[in-house]
């Protein structure tokens, strides 16, 4: 699109943005700055009608809260692993789907389909596979040691089950964006590269990945934000167990707010989560945008 046309239509584009911005303010900005942030400074049990202002009391308590710190470390670990695996899986699948393959449309749909299933359903599917299908399958194949793996019996194994389910359902969306990015790379550039001997992995690393940086920026942003808000899959797969070993920050906040009814403290944790996600995503955007190249 030419820049003159863009300038000419700027007012119209801004008008188009109004409904979305209004909704965003109503559903996110408003509750965040009028509800969550102020409440973080109160001792507020939702069953008790009154709230007491305690200043930074909730934030000071956070640093002594072992469960919060454990869930913070777990969320960071989950975030790093799922963001990395999601993006690697999504790029790899989209790379091969971009080639000439049999039944391309159907194959793309198959990879995208898990993304259309809700997190709770995904969890039920994988719970069933881990507890019923895999043990029987391995036992039938004579692999007793694998059949006897307790997938939910320890924090580390339960972590693996969550990662598998999260990557299975999350990579489809990223794959579509990578695919669109790959298709946008001019064939002239690729052909010129091939003539110069840049083929195979070299082509991926030297040409395609640099030209995909805008897509990588968006995909990292989406997957990092998603990983830190991770709630439905851990909730339905492990319930945060065993013994709280797979509690994410979002689960921890939810339980504080609605199980022990400590809303003020939960709001303080939400503010901290907001700040952490903001710092990480801003850092990531800054880092990846500097690597972007213009065609």
């Amino acid at each position: 699109m030419s820049s003159s046309l863009h300038k000419k239509n700027t007012r119209f584009y801004l008008i188009l943005l109004i409904p979305a911005v209004c909704l965003y303010c109503l559903a996110l900005i408003g509750p965040l700055f009028m509800g969550t942030v102020p409440s973080a400074f109160y001792d507020w049990n939702i069953i008790k009608a009154k709230r007491n202002f305690i200043g930074l009391g909730n934030f000071m308590e956070l640093f002594r809260d072992k469960q919060f710190l454990t869930s913070l470390v777990f969320t960071l670990k989950l975030g790093i692993v799922t963001v990395t695996l999601n993006n690697i899986a999504a790029f790899t699948i989209s790379y091969f789907l971009n080639e000439r393959i049999f039944a391309k449309g159907l194959t793309r749909s198959m990879f995208f389909m898990p993304n259309t299933i809700g997190g709770i359903m995904v969890s039920f599917i994988w719970c069933f596979l881990f507890t019923n299908v895999f043990p029987k399958m391995f036992a039938a194949a004579g692999m007793e040691s694998l059949a006897q793996i307790s997938w939910f019996g320890s924090g580390s194994m339960a972590f693996i089950t969550i990662v598998v389910a999260a990557v299975w359902t999350g990579s489809g969306f990223l794959m579509v964006l990578y695919l669109a990015g790959l298709q946008n790379i001019s064939t002239d550039i690729l052909e010129a590269g091939e003539i110069d001997g840049c083929t195979g992995l070299k082509k991926v690393v030297m040409i395609q990945l640099p030209l995909l940086m805008p897509t990588i920026t968006i995909n990292l942003f989406v997957s990092i934000a998603g990983a830190f808000k991770s709630f439905d899959i851990p909730y339905a797969m492990t319930g945060g167990g065993p013994a709280g070993a797979t509690n994410t920050i979002a689960l921890n906040i939810y339980r504080d707010a609605f199980s022990t009814y400590n809303m003020g403290y939960a709001c303080a944790k939400s503010v901290i989560l907001f700040v952490i996600v903001m710092i990480i995503t801003c850092g990531q955007l800054r880092l990846t945008r500097t690597k972007e190249v213009q065609m």
């Binding site: 119209f12 008008i15 188009l16 409904p19 979305a20 209004c22 909704l23 559903a27 939702i46 069953i47 008790k48 009608a49 709770i120 359903m121 039920f124 881990f130 507890t131 043990p135 006897q148 793996i149 307790s150 997938w151 939910f152 019996g153 320890s154 924090g155 909730y235 339905a236 319930g239 945060g240 167990g241 065993p242 013994a243 709280g244 070993a245 939810y254 339980r255 707010a257 609605f258 199980s259 022990t260 009814y261 809303m263």
Partner: protein, 454 residues
């Protein structure tokens, strides 16, 4: 011209999409129960269809809608049946039961903060009910007809500051339920009543190719219930005083006899088959009902699911054999459900009429009480009620005998300060999963439970 039409169409479409998104965010009034986080259970419960049907009926006849929120269980069908009996008996009120398939405490918390509690709702007696009563969320029911009919032993958990705030609809009981056929197959002729006898029974069951205990430990609430029953067994008569001290912040879980609790859990772990941490309550019910496992250590409610899976299963019950003294083998009892009324509800008078029906114990009448209790898995009544079917079940006869003899113990997680149940279930699961030692578990429990007293 063409450009203006295109711009206008684009603007209209963006507005429609925005309006659609806004619509998606609206709560579906009166149907929080159907927004299930566990679709499987909601489907089993048949709630969506039930609620929609009830709403349609209500519209057509101008009945007043009264809803009662209940926690997830396998009683959905009979609760629906019991509500239908009431709806068919009069034409002013349309009574619907909304089963919440997710975490019930979290549902109540969300409803409380939104000031949108249902007309009637289930609540855990003791600390949870007391907390709600203290803060004005419950209607004083002291002058209701049921108040003079319920047994004195059930009043404590629903009474706050001398006033009755809940109808204790039943007395739940916990112990070791066993499959009589499995025991006979293993050659166990006398049900074990001591710990040593239980160990021998486990060996015989394993020799017969039967897993002694049905594993349910992936669900942390099952670990909590097992721990509470064992801990109460270890404490015996010291329990009430200990609970009072813990709530005052001046005691510890490390009491004399606590080793027996962990010894028992060790026995369960050794005899629950492989991958026992992968098995949740539903898998445990199925394993028990199918005869793969001989015993299940849970409350009476587990039997409803077991009988549903296997209508022919013969069910017996063992008191908890915590030691080698049979006198210490008791069952854990608790006022299982408190049914309370929201004083700020739209239809308080109608809700009280529903409560009157729910607490009716007229002999020979088919009502909520008989429908809920006179079936396998039903709890004990909290007032004199004539039951005809369940009384012939062997397990029920054992439970009745122990209750009549006073060989019962309370459920600590309900009696400790509010929040204790959540803590116990998360901590004790660590022992089942071999993630923490006995000392670590006791330390964590002390640290977190005593904090509740602050």
């Amino acid at each position: 011209m063409y450009k203006k039409i295109r711009q206008g169409t684009a603007f209209f479409l963006s507005a429609v999409i925005a309006a659609g998104l806004f619509g998606c965010g609206q709560p579906s009034s009166g149907q929080p129960g159907v927004q299930s986080s566990q679709p499987g259970q909601a489907k089993e419960a048949g709630q969506p269809a039930q609620t929609n049907k009830a709403e349609e009926e209500s519209k057509s006849t101008d009945k007043v809608n009264v809803t009662m929120a209940v926690w997830s269980s396998s009683s959905a069908a009979i609760q629906e049946e019991a509500a239908k009996v009431f709806n068919d008996s009069q034409d002013q009120i349309n009574f619907t039961v909304e089963m919440q398939s997710g975490d019930y405490a979290q549902y109540l918390g969300a409803k409380t903060v939104a000031n949108d509690l249902p007309d009637l709702f289930y609540i855990n007696p003791y600390s949870e009910l007391w907390q709600y009563a203290k803060n004005g969320y419950l209607l004083d029911l002291s002058d209701q007809p049921f108040a003079s009919k319920i047994y004195d032993s059930t009043k404590e958990g629903v009474t706050y500051d001398g006033k009755i705030y809940g109808y204790p609809s039943s007395v739940e009981y916990w112990g070791l339920f066993y499959n009589i056929d499995a025991f006979e197959k293993a050659g166990i002729t006398e049900p074990p009543v001591t710990f040593s006898q239980l160990q021998e029974a486990c060996e015989k069951l394993k020799a017969a190719g039967i897993t002694p205990f049905a594993a349910t430990y992936k669900d942390s609430w099952t670990c909590e219930q097992v721990f509470c029953a064992l801990y109460a067994g270890a404490m015996q008569d010291r329990l009430p005083g200990w609970v009072a001290d813990m709530n005052a912040g001046k005691s510890t879980f490390s009491q004399e006899g606590v080793d027996k609790v962990f010894r028992f859990i060790d026995l369960m772990k050794e005899n629950s088959g492989t991958n026992y941490m992968d098995s949740d309550a539903t898998a445990g019910y199925n394993s028990f009902a199918g005869g793969d496992a001989a015993m299940i250590f849970l409350g009476n409610f587990a039997l409803r699911s077991a009988r549903k899976v296997n209508p022919d299963i013969r069910l017996g019950m063992l008191p908890v054999p915590i030691s080698d003294n049979p006198e210490e083998s008791k069952i854990m009892c608790n006022t299982g459900v408190g049914i309370v009324v929201n004083p700020n509800g739209k239809h308080v008078e109608e809700a009280l009429k529903v409560l009157e029906y729910v607490s009716d114990n007229t002999e020979g009448a088919r009502n909520w009480t008989t429908i809920m209790l006179d079936a396998v898995g039903g709890a004990m009544p909290s007032m004199p009620v004539k039951l005809e079917n369940v009384v012939n079940e062997p397990y029920y006869q054992t439970a009745s005998q122990y209750i009549a003899e006073g060989k019962t113990m309370g459920k600590i997680s309900n009696q400790l300060n509010s929040g204790g149940m959540e803590i116990i279930k998360n901590v004790i699961q660590g022992y089942f999963a071999d993630m923490s030692s006995q000392e670590e578990i006791l330390g964590q429990l002390d640290e977190q439970i005593l904090k509740l007293a602050e």
